[in-house]
């Protein structure tokens, strides 16, 4: 009997249109937990880190964790692991909704996609019945059209993961979308699936996850749900306003990047805030599988359609970063990202970079004449129009579909790309949050806020308030946050539970479900093992540790105005300490003794 895990892996050979079901190696699963960790380990063992991301030798692993699809709160998460066409690093993009839980209930811990189909296909999974079906009629369709069509054929209960036109066209910032509006958003994972000619995966599951100790699970789960309900952030803030509640907080601290990080405060933030969203366009909440937090939003567009609403990062990327303070336009751009299958952060931030390239005279009027759109900061029509053109690789949108780094490089102005390892930075100016900046610089998937969310202690005061400008202790904090996040991502729980829960709570859930005996030390060691394995993959992929850096603007140009005025990021003061606490040498390579301690071969 296997507890927690489904115990099976579905391996799909797209080249030969075959599949086989393999037993999960439980010992390996325990060592790497599941989800992000175990998928990374299997990916690392099977794929050459130097692989070309769009070649048939690259694989895509869609992985659940041991807690995915259980009664644990917020346990609908799954991870897409592959080599990223945007960053050249390991990609692991996480999503909620219902698809992940359904995959687990169909009896699989993960799907491994390998090879390449010679024509568009979709994969149908109905418990142990698996079919690779023709998807010629779906190629070119939007996400909602694809999802509606497949649900019509296979039933309302079927859960659909798919790519949109962006993934088909190998847009390097294309997302994987499931359940219409939840995204495994970052690092271009949608394009890798597109390169394999896979349009969708449809899953129906009727199994139940087995628990080691049913009674204990019941008690632990109800205790954790209670903790989530009683916590101010997960019980009040997020349920009432969604992630958008951050707009005003981050702006009031003067770390809300404006116009491609040229400024970090705006007097107009409230126009695109969670408070305004709740008042003007919110219809209802749009929760994921078994989630007591329910931060997802359902909003009304100006034309009357009701759709999934924008998250904080999206309100920023299309809003302040493009100097647009029109919540209807941002909600529309967000909707288009879901339909075309695009990462909202990278899409908005790439448009913002293009706007600065235009403002500074690199992009000329004649370059975009045919497109009938402006690249002026503050233009609501532009964010909507360019999003479509990026999704279709149409006109000048074809250049933007490469992401901001390659776009700026084309004009000899990489310093205007606000990226780390070629991935666009999210919605916090690290010049005013030192620990968070270190997290950006060292994230294994490039510019990213959810690999060790230092905003939590440095701004929100959870679990305790740290001085955001101080460097003291930040390297240690970043390491622990990164390791714990790797654990949560691997278990298959939502990261937002960590506003209320700590390592001890995750251990209680994991042990009760699987019958393991993890303690604080061994669980964090598993997280550290995962972190180091991702690092080793990146090093072998040819990512130089010198890429642990931030854009020049953030290191050299002080924030010009607002509450964080005068600050720059002090990465060079933080990085040596970080390498030291990680057990890496001064150049950023893991030391042999660290790998031995972590039992990484």
């Amino acid at each position: 009997m296997v507890f927690g895990y489904a115990g099976k892996i579905l391996r799909v050979d797209l080249t030969n249109r075959r599949f086989r079901v393999e037993d999960l190696n439980l010992e390996l699963a325990k060592k790497y937990i599941g989800g992000r960790g175990l998928a990374t380990k299997i990916f690392y063992d099977e794929v050459d880190p130097k692989v070309e991301p769009f070649s048939k030798e690259n694989k895509v692993i869609i992985a659940t964790g041991p807690l995915t699809g259980t009664s644990a709160p917020a346990s609908g998460r799954y991870m897409v692991v592959t080599k990223s066409p945007l960053t050249g690093t390991i990609a692991s993009s996480n999503s909620g909704g219902y698809f992940g839980a359904e995959l687990k209930l169909a009896g699989y811990d993960m799907i491994i996609l390998e090879g390449k189909s010679d024509r568009p296909v979709y994969i149908l999974i109905d418990d142990d019945k698996v079919e690779i079906k023709d998807a010629g009629n779906l190629w070119g369709k939007l996400v909602s059209e694809t999802t509606d069509f497949l649900k019509n054929i296979h039933g309302e209960k079927a859960k659909v993961l798919c790519i949109g036109p962006a993934g088909e066209r190998l847009v390097k910032i294309a997302a994987v979308i499931n359940d219409y509006d939840r995204a495994a958003g970052r690092s271009g994972v949608g394009a890798v699936i597109g390169s394999k000619n896979v349009k969708a995966i449809v899953v129906k599951g009727s199994n139940k996850v087995q628990f080691y100790d049913e009674e204990r699970v019941k008690d632990v789960v109800s205790n954790k749900i209670k903790m989530l309900r009683e916590n101010g952030i997960t019980g009040q803030g997020l349920p009432t306003y969604g992630t958008a509640v951050l707009v005003n907080i981050i702006n009031e601290n003067g770390i809300f990047p404006v116009a491609n990080f040229q400024k970090s405060y705006t007097e107009y933030a409230d126009k695109i805030s969670g408070e305004t969203m709740a008042k003007d366009i919110l219809v209802r909440k749009n929760p994921c599988y078994r989630c007591p937090i329910a931060c997802g939003r359902w909003v009304r567009l100006k034309d009357g359609r009701e759709v999934g609403g924008p998250e904080y990062e999206t309100l920023w990327a299309f809003g302040a970063d493009c100097n647009v303070y029109d919540i209807d336009a941002v909600a529309k751009a967000n909707y288009l990202c879901n339909e075309y299958g695009l990462d909202t952060i990278s899409t908005g931030a790439t448009i913002a970079a293009a706007m600065e390239l235009y403002e500074k005279g690199y992009i000329k009027d004649e370059d975009i004449k045919e497109d009938g759109l402006s690249l002026r900061f503050g233009d609501s029509d532009a964010i909507i129009g360019w999003t479509k053109k990026i999704g279709l690789r149409e006109g000048f949108g074809d250049n933007m579909a490469e992401g901001s780094y390659r776009l700026c490089q084309k004009y000899g102005a990489v310093e205007l790309s606000m990226t780390v390892k070629k991935q666009e930075l999210p919605a916090y100016d690290p010049r005013g949050v030192q620990g968070h900046g270190l997290e950006y610089a060292t994230s294994n998937r490039g510019g990213c806020h959810v690999r060790g969310y230092m905003i939590s202690p440095e701004i929100l005061g959870a679990p305790q308030k740290l001085d955001r400008f101080s460097l003291e202790g930040k390297a240690e904090w970043v390491k622990i946050f990164q390791d714990l996040t790797a654990v949560i991502d691997s278990l298959g729980l939502c990261l937002f539970t960590s506003f209320a829960l700590s390592a001890k709570d995750y251990i209680e859930l994991y042990n009760a479900v699987c019958g393991f005996d993890f303690n604080q030390e061994t669980i964090l060691e598993a997280g550290e093992r995962i972190w180091n394995l991702e690092r080793i993959f990146n090093l072998k992929a040819g990512i130089d540790p010198k890429e642990d850096k931030l854009p020049k603007r953030l290191l050299q140009e002080p924030i010009p105005e607002g509450p964080s005025k005068g600050h720059v990021h002090k990465l060079s003061d933080l990085l040596p300490k970080y390498y030291e606490v990680r057990g890496w040498d001064e150049k950023g390579y893991p030391k042999k003794e660290t790998l031995i301690k972590l039992n990484i071969e």
């Binding site: 803030g237 997020l238 509640v245 601290n253 998250e311 937002f496």
Partner: protein, 73 residues
């Protein structure tokens, strides 16, 4: 003059912005009492965008931002 900005649930039944006349010794504690905000509901308290304490004395012209427990990402 002290400008006080309220956010999220603290806006329920209150204005978004409230202005207080400055007097020597005015603190955040005085302000939240006047606004009938419980101390427990103050999770983030900024004076001119920098973390402050509600018992810190304010200066004329200060801007105070008050948030209940909120988070996201």
């Amino acid at each position: 003059m002290i400008k006080v900005k309220l956010f999220a649930t603290l806006r329920e039944g209150r204005q978004k912005e409230v202005v207080f006349d400055y007097f020597d010794g005015i603190t955040g504690k005085y302000i939240i009492d006047m606004l009938d905000i419980k101390e427990d509901d103050v999770a983030i308290y900024l004076i001119n965008g920098i973390d402050g304490k509600i018992n810190d004395k304010l200066k004329d012209g200060d801007v105070v931002s008050i948030f209940p427990p909120v988070g996201g990402g």
